[in-house]
Amino acid sequence: MNVTVLLFASLSDRAGLRRIELDYQPGDTVRSVCDRLMDAYPALRSFRPSLLYAVNEEYVRPGDSVPPGATLALIPPVSGG
């Protein structure tokens, strides 16, 4: 199974892509998936302190688990309205 990671706004501009598939690893959390992602895309590291996270369209905490097949969205500070 995979984990799908979605990127938006400045993050997606920096990475040059909007959607990444990573292999799921047993016990994956938001933090562990991010660690693997940042290893593959070191340019995203500087964004990490400001990010919020959503798993399957719900805000979650960095320690929360990411189930196999889930979609993890990396959410920079929002500016809608």
Partner: protein, 151 residues
């Protein structure tokens, strides 16, 4: 409730019609509009990007919460995405209630929560460059408010 994220222009009349109710004595409508300037800089246009499915979900949660808190009768929240020119409407909220106080308080609360919690981002495009605006304008680059939403 009418909740929508769309790249089409937002229609005030549709939203007002949606919240009509024989028990309503007050309707409040808020339009967030593209200004020609921000923090002293001249803006040419804006580009809005949303995490569409989640944005609608969060907008619906906020609208439900507003309905309970303020006893609203009807509620419509629409956010536009894509390229918006000066004067175009990016956010449209219409609510109805028995009396006027709830309509103003509920509308103000809704806009504030939407700006804190809904996954939408705005890129300012000037004559000589562009930048993603991240975080509420009033706090500049700080993430204090947005940070609370996920914690």
């Amino acid at each position: 409730m009418l909740i929508r994220v769309t790249s089409e222009p937002l229609d005030t009349a549709e939203a007002v019609a949606h919240v009509a109710s024989p028990e309503a004595g007050a309707v409040n409508v808020f339009l967030g509009v593209v200004r020609d300037n921000n923090l002293g800089r001249r803006v040419d246009h804006l580009v809005y990007e949303a995490y569409d499915a989640m944005a609608e979900k969060v907008m619906r949660e906020i609208a439900e919460e507003a309905r309970e808190r303020f006893g609203l009768l009807g509620c419509a929240v629409l956010h536009r995405t894509g390229r918006l020119e000066i004067g175009e409407t990016s956010l449209l909220i219409a609510i109805s209630s028995g009396h006027r106080a709830e309509s103003f308080e509920g509308g103000h609360w809704l806009v504030n929560e939407i700006k804190k919690r809904v996954p939408v981002w705005k890129k300012e495009v000037w004559e000589d460059g562009e930048e993603w605006i991240e975080g509420p304008e009033s706090l500049g680059k700080s993430q204090a408010t947005a940070g609370q939403a996920g914690q």
